[in-house]
Structures are given as structure tokens and as C-alpha cells.
Assembly symmetry: C2
Homo-oligomer: 565 residues x 2
């Protein structure tokens, strides 16, 4: 019951002036304190002497010639692996900077703890700087020296508040120059960029730039995003996905039990994941809902909003015939971005709204293409109004503001009323809307995310020590116990393709979408008809930090690694 005060950091002061109290004044819950005291295991290769060995030369995910032109110094680098060695590697003290980039994901603090511990244990005399507020901190020379006392209270804790994050990008020549100046002023041997696809692309551009300027500063990336859409063969998952999905699944499981007990509500649950539907798929595998919409499938089948509405309504009608007038439906927040006709409508609306007067009588609608007009009329009134009224500073329709779960409830209601009039449905439908979002981004990281992040950070330190740059820290063999995990680095250029923007090729790490022929989706697809009709709900319960199941990782990862669940 008594909350334990965290050890004071004894007055840590930022090198750039002013006190940075961090969590100095924080009071911790018992669970937080317990996590703080929890010792982190390391893969066995990191616990003893190791050396770094190169693999074969690498290429790119697409358009290798263009990637080679964009990254003349880095293209083609081999992947590297850490292997046990008889003798300790030669090491020297390093000056390293670390930055958190983009949205929060549980485990970010442990990446920093991993780097910190590597430097403390393997490169004595090193210094670690944390850039504050994301990449802007690098450009504006805002940082804090990360001491043992400063770092300690963040071990195994959620959030990014140790140094905070930001969404700025380092893009212009001036910004690259600012970054160069910072690296030189701090005499940085290395910079670790913890971020998603964009941030890791940026990390690679920085690594290339530093090389081209003959600077000593190396750059290593780390894969972060709860969305789970930054991954490849050598980087099996991004951190934070495991914790976020387990938090959402806990809530979904509770709502399922509620639905089954009450017997009278359909819960429409919108989940994070704008670009890819991994979160929705994973939560479906954990909880067995009556339906889960996967954006990538909707897009592949070129489904319309009406198709989606009918799919849900059909399930509701079938369940009504069986006497079940309740259920749970999962929806990725990016759903309507996957529906081609909606994209078309939005584009037309933006054009019309920019140039024409929207008259009350609605004559402006005649400017819409017939099929867009039809779709617009199909939308619930509240959504129509939202589209017309809430526009961004550029006057554009804000798709992100649409509460998809409420829209679907409304459309399903309308369809059910139609069927009722036709004598095809006679039950009573009551929808309940939920959005599970912020709750999942900052939870206490699971054992998996805690361990994975610590290994990612510790490995990043080792890669910097050997002078590697332009790699993303890679921890593999994740189906095995932690001690058997592999550690290494993958060339960021090997993850890249190009996109044509404003007449120029831009390097991008393509987001990893839900693959319709991969094991996680196939598992879901093979079960969904049964889950739709029968009540196979699972309640995963709250994340446990000890006891049965506490060390399990998520279904998506296990299925991708070949496990049979």
C-alpha cells in the first residue's frame, strides 16, 4: 500500500544548465517500485566476451541502384552479428547521444538503460547524453547528461518522459549542419535514434551525412512503434507493440465478458493503427472477437463502405437467429483510409470545399461524381457534418477526426432497420462505441518489451564500440528464452526503397503491412467464421509481471516465427 519514494538523483544538472529533476519528485506505486527493482536478463552473447562478425554484403528492399546513389558511403554494408569470443574486445570510452523520436511506445526507457549499462560495464569512462524533446533537441543543442542517478528511476517504466520525444525531422541542409555542430561540440562517437520507419530513415541519412563529412559520429537506429509496422526478417518486431496490444486486449476481454453477461450490447472498439492493422489483428488473435476488420484485406478486396457494413450486419443477423444479441467488433483507426471510394470522395470534397460555396440547399453536391454523391448520402448525418465542418488549417477534410466506430454503428443501425422492415431481422440492436488509444502507449512495458528493449540498447552500444554506422539494432531468435537471443545490426539501407516526391527520389523504409498470406492473418482468417457465430471470447486479463504467461510474447510474433498456437 505504501508508495515508495524513488531515490533522489542527488542533484543531477543538465550540462546545458538548469536542473532537470526528471522523476526525482515522483512517488511510485508498488508495481512501479517492483518493476524498478526487477533485474533485466541479457542474451548470453552479451553477458560474456563477444566480437562482431560481418555477414555478406546487402542490397535494398527495392530500387537498389537509386538507394546506392542516395547512400554512396553506406549502401551495401553487411549485416553484423555478435558472437562469443575468447578474449574481451578492445574498448575505449565513448561519447554517445540518444534521442527518442515520434510517438511513445512502452520500453523506450529500457533502450536507454541498455545503452547506459553497456557504456558503464563495457566502456568505462563513457558519457551518455540524452537529447531532449526529440530530434529538435539535437538541432537546438538541448540535452541532459544521463547519470546513473538520473537514469535509475526509469528502469522498466513506461512513457518517454526521461528525455521526452518529438516529431521534428532533420531535413534541410541547415538542419543537417545544426546536427553536425551538435555532434562536434559534444565530440560524439555515436548517436542512437529510437524511432519508427521515418525516424530510422532519418537516422540513415544522418549516418550517410556524417560519413560524407568525415566525422567520427556513428549512427545506430532502434525499431520503435506500437503499430508493429516496422519489421523485417532480421528485425522481427518493433518494441511497444507487445505491451500496447496486451493492454488493449485486457480491455477488450473485459468488454467481452461484459457483453456476454449483459447480453444486450454490440461493442464497436476502435484501436490504434492508422497505416497498418497489426494491432487489430493481434488483439483479435488474443481475444477472439465476433469480427475484426483488417484494413489491408479491405483494400485488397477493394471493399466499399457498404460491403463492410453488410459484413458486420450479416454477422449480427446470424447471431440474432442463434439468440445472441450482443457482440464485440474490432476496427483499426485507419480503416477508411483503406477504402478506395472514401479516398475518392475525400479528394473531391477537398476540391469543392476549396473553390465553391457550400449552400444549405445542397446544390454543391451536384459537383460530386455520381458514385461519390451516392457514398456521401450513404454516410450518417453526423459524419457528413463532421466532414464539412471540421477541417484542418489548409481547409482539408480531416479524415483522422472521424470516429469510425460511431460511423459504423450508425450505418449498421440503418441497415438493420431496413432488414427489419423487410422482415429479415427482428431483434433489438444497441451499439456501444469505444476507442482504446492513449491507454496503451505508455503502460509499464511487459517482460518481453522490457527484455527486448534492454537487449536492443545494449546491442546498440556494442555496435557503436566497433565503429559500425547506418545499422538498426537487431535482436533475433525471439521465440527462444532471452539467453538464446541473437544480437547484431542490419544495414538500414537494406530496409529501403525509394518513393518519387516532387520529382525527386526519396528513400523510405516501407511500412510492414499485414500480409494476407502470412501466418497471423491466415490463422485469423481460418478462425473468424467460428468466432463470428460462436462465443469463443478470451479474456487475457491484466499484464502479469510474474507467474504463468508473464514471459510470453504476442501471437503475431510467435506465428511469424513459426510457432503453432
Amino acid at each position: 500500500m505504501a508508495a515508495a519514494a524513488v531515490t533522489s538523483n542527488g542533484g543531477a544538472v543538465a550540462a546545458n544548465g538548469g536542473p532537470t529533476p526528471g522523476r526525482l519528485a515522483s512517488v511510485y506505486s508498488e508495481v512501479q517500485t517492483n518493476r524498478l527493482l526487477h533485474a533485466l536478463p541479457l542474451p548470453s552473447v552479451l553477458r560474456s566476451n563477444f566480437s562482431v562478425v560481418d555477414g555478406p554484403a546487402s542490397s535494398a528492399a527495392g530500387n537498389p541502384d537509386e538507394i546506392a546513389k542516395l547512400f554512396p558511403n553506406l549502401f551495401g554494408q553487411p549485416s553484423v552479428s555478435l558472437v562469443p569470443a575468447a578474449e574481451p574486445a578492445a574498448t575505449r570510452p565513448l561519447k554517445v547521444g540518444v534521442v527518442l523520436s515520434g510517438g511513445q511506445a512502452p520500453g523506450g526507457h529500457n533502450v536507454i538503460c541498455g545503452i547506459f549499462d553497456y557504456l558503464q560495464e563495457r566502456a568505462k569512462g563513457s558519457t551518455l547524453y540524452g537529447f531532449k524533446g526529440g530530434p529538435a533537441g539535437i538541432m537546438k543543442f538541448k540535452y541532459v547528461e544521463l547519470t546513473s542517478d538520473f537514469v535509475y528511476p526509469y528502469r522498466n517504466q513506461g512513457g518517454f518522459d526521461m528525455i521526452c520525444s518529438g516529431r521534428d525531422k532533420i531535413e534541410t541542409p541547415e538542419q543537417f549542419k545544426q546536427t553536425e555542430d551538435t555532434a562536434n561540440k559534444l565530440d560524439l562517437d555515436g548517436l542512437v535514434v529510437i524511432g519508427g520507419d521515418d525516424s530510422n530513415t532519418n537516422a540513415c541519412l544522418l549516418g550517410e551525412y556524417f560519413r560524407s563529412r568525415n566525422m567520427k559520429t556513428r549512427v545506430i537506429g532502434c525499431p520503435k512503434t506500437i503499430d508493429g509496422d516496422l519489421k523485417c526478417k532480421e528485425v522481427p518486431t518493433s518494441f511497444g507493440f507487445d505491451t500496447a496490444c496486451k493492454i488493449y486486449s485486457e480491455m477488450i476481454g473485459n468488454v467481452m465478458t461484459d457483453a456476454r453477461s449483459t447480453g444486450k450490447y454490440y461493442h464497436f472498439v476502435r484501436l490504434m493503427g492508422r497505416a497498418a492493422s497489426h494491432i487489430t489483428l493481434e488483439c483479435a488473435l488474443q481475444t477472439h472477437p465476433n469480427a475484426a476488420l483488417i484494413g489491408e484485406e479491405v483494400a485488397a478486396k477493394k471493399q466499399t463502405l457498404k460491403n463492410v457494413t453488410n459484413y458486420i450486419t450479416d454477422i449480427i443477423c446470424k447471431r440474432a437467429d442463434l439468440g445472441y444479441n450482443y457482440g464485440v467488433i474490432l476496427i483499426p483507426e485507419g480503416l477508411i483510409d483503406f477504402i478506395p471510394e472514401v479516398q475518392k470522395l475525400i479528394a473531391e470534397l477537398n476540391e469543392i470545399l476549396a473553390h465553391d460555396v457550400v449552400d444549405e440547399a445542397g446544390t454543391w453536391k451536384s459537383k460530386l461524381q455520381p458514385e461519390s454523391n451516392e457514398l456521401f448520402e450513404f454516410l450518417p448525418k453526423t459524419i457528413q457534418e463532421q466532414l464539412m465542418l471540421e477541417r484542418d488549417p489548409h481547409g482539408n477534410v480531416q479524415v483522422a477526426k472521424i470516429e469510425t466506430e460511431k460511423m459504423l454503428i450508425s450505418m449498421v443501425e440503418t441497415e438493420l432497420e431496413k432488414r427489419k422492415a423487410e422482415g429479415r431481422y427482428s431483434a433489438h440492436f444497441r451499439g456501444q462505441a469505444h476507442f482504446f488509444g492513449y491507454e496503451g502507449r505508455c503502460g509499464l512495458p511487459t517482460n518481453f518489451d522490457s527484455n527486448y528493449c534492454y537487449a536492443l540498447g545494449y546491442g546498440a552500444g556494442a555496435l557503436l564500440q566497433t565503429g559500425k554506422t547506418g545499422l538498426i539494432s537487431s535482436v533475433g531468435n525471439l521465440a527462444a528464452p532471452v539467453e538464446e537471443w541473437t544480437v547484431g545490426g542490419t544495414p538500414l539501407t537494406s530496409l529501403m526503397d525509394v518513393e518519387r516526391r516532387h520529382g525527386k527520389f526519396k528513400p523510405v523504409i516501407k511500412k510492414a503491412m499485414v500480409e494476407l498470406d502470412a501466418a497471423p492473418f491466415k490463422k485469423y482468417a481460418s478462425m473468424r467464421d467460428e468466432w463470428a457465430i460462436k462465443n469463443r471470447y478470451i479474456s487475457p486479463g491484466p499484464i502479469q509481471f510474474s507467474g504463468p504467461g508473464s514471459d510470453d510474447s504476442n501471437h503475431t510474433l510467435m506465428l511469424e516465427l513459426g510457432a503453432v498456437l
Copy 2:
């Protein structure tokens, strides 16, 4: 990772025909399975021989003369306690019915398990019937015989789905007669009613009725509600409150960490609790938000909506001066029910909407009293529209549908814009709305709720064995370890007062409101100024079933029992 299938119940069939599969087909998560296998401790008095001793005669919470008239057979009964005995008490097989009444609360299944185990262990040859779908199941003779196989899969599990619940009341003479018929047909020695204040009042009326009919059926109540508003000296808490508050607090803690990490959002979190604000107060004690509105205080101070808006806005401005443009505000869902001027406006609106045409020009508003008109104009446009458009079948304004958190965000925005124009505020405010509700009603019960419910049920069985009726199962000394908990029964009439309805006295168990001079509120009040300005956020983390903190109960209960936290 592998989910364990629950033992089949070997074909349990309801005595009234038809299979009742229950959770037969369910697949459980590892945490669920682990909970299923978790053995429940009992207070030591229940583990050995005990006898039941009477205390002094009781009275009523108010108007004892009227209560005595309404309950001639039951009024004045003593409270009873179980005490250790040298010899086992004489027992005989019992036929007992159990019913779940009203909204779900974590732990309901364990009350039933407690009754079941009492009958199995202490009154061999007994039969337990579960009435299906709440009190309607009693009236309509819908029940299932609860066998060991049937009950087993629900141990320590959330929800009410073993026999489901309902909100019907047994009120008319016909309904009392139906209940009498059911009790006679099943030859019931006892009936256990698991419910809130209304259901326990109903239980007492049933007990009185059965006595007046010289029936052998005894009635025992059990205190259930996540809202925490059914409690008295001898019934220190209602079950479900502990689990629900911990689930909400986990989410609030996560949102706090998010707020601190991002530094740019004010999260307005609406929490369940329409009649009383215990949940909001408990979550505040667990998490230390920047503000928590307590309805009872708002009412006591006769605050207006403008007062409430200004209170929040002042905190936001003070925080902005300190450089904090983020925060977390907790709001009970019943907030506006506590604001007298809002009640007045609603009453006037209902009157006008029932008789007058609402014209677009708004001339109808002249029918409002000036202060109500002013308040109406003060409300955000969306709330005005909601009040006018979404009315219940009787044409009344639906206060329950108002999303208070969005209303407050909108009003705070307006006030901040005003202050900005006056040069008193210069930061940027961004509000995020949350409602945590259904997620908390059906979670896996905490160790506290699991143990408390099991003792409540086991004790209810013991009370029935001794022929007691009209008592509410009472488990006390809850600050001590389970083995030291006290077990007994409190006369339901002693919890009662009367209300005058339609010219008649009706017995009611008064809801226990947040007491402004009791320890939990005083603790909050003594800390809130510090929490408002400084960031003292605590993240309780997910409920743990083992390890440090897993056996703690909630702050409200501990403070009420005199603990210093």
C-alpha cells in the same frame, strides 16, 4: 502461450430443461487459467467449527417507527457474528437459490462459489439453484441447478455470465406471489440476493413477505456495486469497487505518463459513478491527478457549472505559468446531477419541450427563467443540440447521454480563449476526452475482491443454515489478513430509512455518498493543491495477482478503517 481448455462440465442440464453450456465451450487465457486454479483462503472462523451469536437489538438508519411498521416480522433483529466453537454446529442439507441483480461487478461469481462450497463442505446433500437473468428468473421460474462441474469454470473469473443478471424488481402482489410459488416449488430453505441498495431493499421485503406467509424460505443479501455506495459500519465496502477502481486507475496512470511524456494534452477522464463519486475519489487517491471533481462537494458548495469551469481553468493557467501545458482531470459521470442550476434548467426544458413548439429562431427560450436561459447560452453548442434532440421515449431530456468530459473541455476552451483575449493566458490548450466504464465492470477480480466475495458467500450459507433471514452478509476487519476477517450478518432493516413516494412511505437503503468530513475525502482535499500544480502522478500499473501489492485493498477502504497512507 497455449490457452487451456476448461474442463467440460460433463453435460450439466438445467432442471427446467435444455442444456446450459455456461462456459463449457470457453477457451481461457493463461491468466484466466491461473486464476481458476488459485485456491481461495477463508477467514479462520469459517475454516473450523463455528456458532452464530446474536448482538443487541437493532433499529433503523432513520424513521424507525415507519420501518417497524413496514417490517413487523423483521424489525429490530440483532446483528449476528460467527464465533469459533468447540463442536461442529448441527447442520442439515439445504435447498438454496441465488440470484444476481443489477449491473455487473467483479467478484459476483465468487459469492456463488462461496455459497456452493459452504453447502458442499458443511451441509452435504444440499442443492444450489441459480436463477437466470436476475429477479425475473425467480418470477418466471427460470433457473439452473448449480453442480460442481457447472460452477468450476467461473472461479475467480469476472462477469456475471454464470447465471446472468437483470434489473427487474419484485414489486407487485402478483410478483410476490410468483416468487412464493417458485420458493415453494423448489422447496427453498434460503435465497441469496446479490445486489446493490435497491436489490437488498427488495431482499428485505421478500424476507418479510416469506415470514408473513409462514414460509421456511430465508433471505440473505450480499453487497454488490462497483460504485461503492452501499456500505455502513458493519458492511465496510461493496464488492467490485476494488477491482473496478484498480482497472480505471491503471488506465489513468498510463494516460498520466502519456501526458507527461507528450507535454501537450489535457486528458479529461469521465469515470463511472452516477449517484456517488467514490470511484473518482478512489482513482484520485491512487493516481494523484491535477484535479478530480467530487459531486458531493460540488453539491455541498452549491457550485455552478461556471464555478467548476473556472476551477479547472484556474489550474490550467497556473500550470501554464509553470511551463506545464498538460494534465489529467477526473470527472464522475454523475457530475451535472449534483449541480442545482443544471437540474433546474433540465426541469424547465422538459416542461417547455412537452408543451411548446421549438422554433428555429429560438423564441421558445424566452420561456426559460432568466438564470436558466443564461446557463443554456453558456453551454457549448453541441451540448445544447444534444439536449434538444436526443430525448427519451417520454420526451424528456437525457442527462445521462451528455458526455460531461467533452462538455467541460468545450467550456474550458471558451474560458481560456476569453482569458487569452484579456492577456491572462498565452499557452495552447488541447483537450482529450476519455470515458472509462465498461472496461471496469467485468475484469478478473483482484485478490481482495476474490477473497471478500468468497467469504461473503460462504458466510451467507452459514447464516441460512442457522435460520437467519433479512440479514446482509457482513465480512469485517478487512485491514487485517484474510484469516482474521470477521464474518456475520447485519439486519437489512438497520440500513433502512423511508422515502415518501406517491403519498406512501417506501423503505430505502440510502446510498452511501462521499462524506466530506471522512478520511478519504479529507486526504484528497489535503493533497489536491499540491497535485494540481506539481506533477505527483502515480501509475498503479496492471492489477497483479501475485507479488508485492497484489493483496492490497483500495485506499478508500483503508483510510475509512483508520490506516495512515
